[in-house]
């Protein structure tokens, strides 16, 4: 298993899948460069798993193409695609030992016995399961099973690795360790990987690129940072992390600069990003991340420059952070997140405070 071999590119073009009159995947296209990890992120029913199954060859697409390393494999049967798959429940063969499970793809390729032994040994070493080679899957813990599944999916050096909710069956602690472990393994092997998940943290932590899907359509594709900081639409903003999404219209402030006014009257300057600023009077949507909302608890704060006077209507203590629900004067509800230990920590329900955010943290979304 030599490291740093450049993986094959994976390209999906205009993929569509309909079941009867129901369109499950609608015109999905993306391109993943070799050795990178892309996560398809979306709620259940968003079409992400269907997209993955198309790429694996388990179901035929209604339209569109799948290319690996520039080669069209759309019509090729699953067993001739050379694509490794890690299944949600691992799909380890229950009647075969760990060793036989991992050897299976190599036996299918009729490799010489020596070679099989060597590579199985390497793969098991890679996931630190050498001592468990003779066990049956049911004798392993969930985390160990997941590592066997991983070893089995990469032992034959597939051109692409697919992972369907790879950590879905594990508990929270183990999931966090495995996220790092899988990411390291993927980078060591330099294997082009497509992962599918509904867990936004997992997507952000593990991926080079994240593609958000909803209703069978690709909503946005980009690096985790881009997606979080510059969500392309309301769905992405809402699905990735908690968000304050306010609806309203474009207005001009005292100085004649365009600003946003919510339906309930909250006025704020905004950042249009790469989008052009709409004319005054156009309906608009803005998103403000709760961690960008600063709370000033001093009674005199309101007098000190711009800010939004609010009343604290709820406090939730979550250990390392505190969540505040604020009600602005017009009635807009704003969620704020503060690290424990900050100024605002002592605020109680009913306190009058001032909420502030920077112009660039109030992002305009297409209405």
């Amino acid at each position: 298993m030599s490291a740093e071999t450049a993986g094959a590119t994976l390209e999906v073009a205009a993929l569509t899948k309909t079941f009867g009159r129901h369109t499950v995947v609608n015109d999905v296209s993306f391109r993943l460069d070799g050795s990178r990890l892309l996560t398809l992120l979306g709620p259940s029913g968003s079409g992400k798993t269907t997209t993955m199954r198309r790429i694996a060859g388990f179901e035929e697409p209604s339209a569109g193409r799948v290319l690996v390393g520039g080669e069209d494999i759309t019509r090729r049967p699953a067993h001739k695609r050379d694509i490794g798959v890690v299944f949600q429940q691992y799909a380890l063969f229950p009647h075969l030992t760990v060793r036989r499970n991992v050897a299976y793809p190599l036996e299918m390729r009729r490799l010489p016995r020596r070679e099989i032994e060597r590579r199985v040994g390497e793969a098991l070493a890679l996931v630190r399961l050498e001592d468990f080679a003779e066990r049956l899957p049911r004798q392993l813990s969930g985390g160990q099973q997941q590592r066997v599944a991983l070893a089995r999916a990469v032992v034959f050096k597939p051109r692409v690795l697919l992972m369907d909710e790879p950590l879905g069956a594990l508990d929270k602690r183990l999931r966090e360790t495995m996220q790092v472990e899988i990411r390291q393994l993927q980078q060591t092997l330099g294997i082009t990987t497509l992962s599918v998940t509904h867990d936004q943290v997992e997507a952000l932590v593990m991926s080079d690129l994240v593609a958000v899907m909803d209703g069978g359509m690709l909503q946005q594709i980009g690096t985790p940072r881009e997606l979080y900081q510059r969500p392309a639409n309301r769905f992405v903003a809402d699905f990735l992390g908690a968000s304050n999404i306010l609806a309203g219209e474009i207005a001009a402030d005292a100085a004649g600069r365009p600003s946003f006014r919510s339906t309930r009257g909250l006025v704020s300057p905004f950042d249009a990003g790469s989008r052009s600023v709409p004319d005054a009077g156009a309906t608009a949507l803005v998103v403000i991340r709760p961690e960008h909302v600063a709370i000033d608890p001093r009674p005199a704060a309101a007098a000190e420059g711009p800010g939004h006077p609010c009343v604290v209507s709820g406090v939730v203590y979550a250990g390392d952070v505190l969540w505040f629900r604020l009600r602005a004067e017009g009635g807009d509800e704003i969620l704020a997140k503060t690290l424990a230990g900050a100024d605002a920590t002592e605020c109680r329900e009913g306190d009058r405070v001032v909420a502030r955010w920077r112009r660039e943290d109030c992002l305009l979304l297409p209405a």
């Binding site: 695609r81 799909a91 299976y104 999916a153």
Partner: protein, 261 residues
Amino acid sequence: MIGTRLRRAVVWLLGGSVLAFLVVPVVAVVPMSFSSSDILELIPTRPGLVQYERFFASPDWMQAMALSFQVAIGTMVAATVLGILAALALWRLPERVRRPLEGMLILPRIVPSIVFAIAIYRLFLDVGMVGTVPSLVVAHTVMAIPFVVVMVGSALRSFDHSLDEASRSLGAGPVTTFFRITLPQIRLAILGGALFAFNVSFDEVVVTLFVSGVRSKTLPVKVWDAIQHEITPILPAISVLVIAVTLLVLVPALLIRRRAA
């Protein structure tokens, strides 16, 4: 608390009587079979193995038993192969096509034996096959297929579809996948289905009465004739033997079915 205990007593009395009604006749035949007398008696006055000896010494009965085994084994093989094929196909079909097909494959269990008996009798008369071993095997196979389909089918339903997909993604074609992954998972259910199929054939009497003609009589048909003519004292012994064979075949089959459930 007396109320509770009284209620339990009533439940046990009522339910227990019903269960006794089911079990006692089957058990009663065992002591009867050890009688040496020519009249039926529950507790033999002179116990012995006379009736068993008579059975094993009779070429007629032996011939019938040999034929029964021959037909039952043939049925077991044919029904198992056809049943597995059908179950596999059903498993791969979408729900909306599967349901009606499944219904059709189960139908031989539903159609009254007498109706199927005269239908197949007529067919075999037309082609001059009445009384042949193949005709018996064919008729019994029709009736045994549903058992195999249901048993193998339920094993397949509990079989994790993703194992099949995993095998394919790892480079195994459909045939290799079947023999290396699917088959080992449903092996027990296949064995169970095969045993049920054996039992269906070994016990079948209504259809066999017609299809066997006068030439080749299976054990149940011989028993039927014996009952019709006179109640010979040999019959309890044969009953015990048939019950023994059935239990031998069914106990493993039932255990398998329970494991599968």
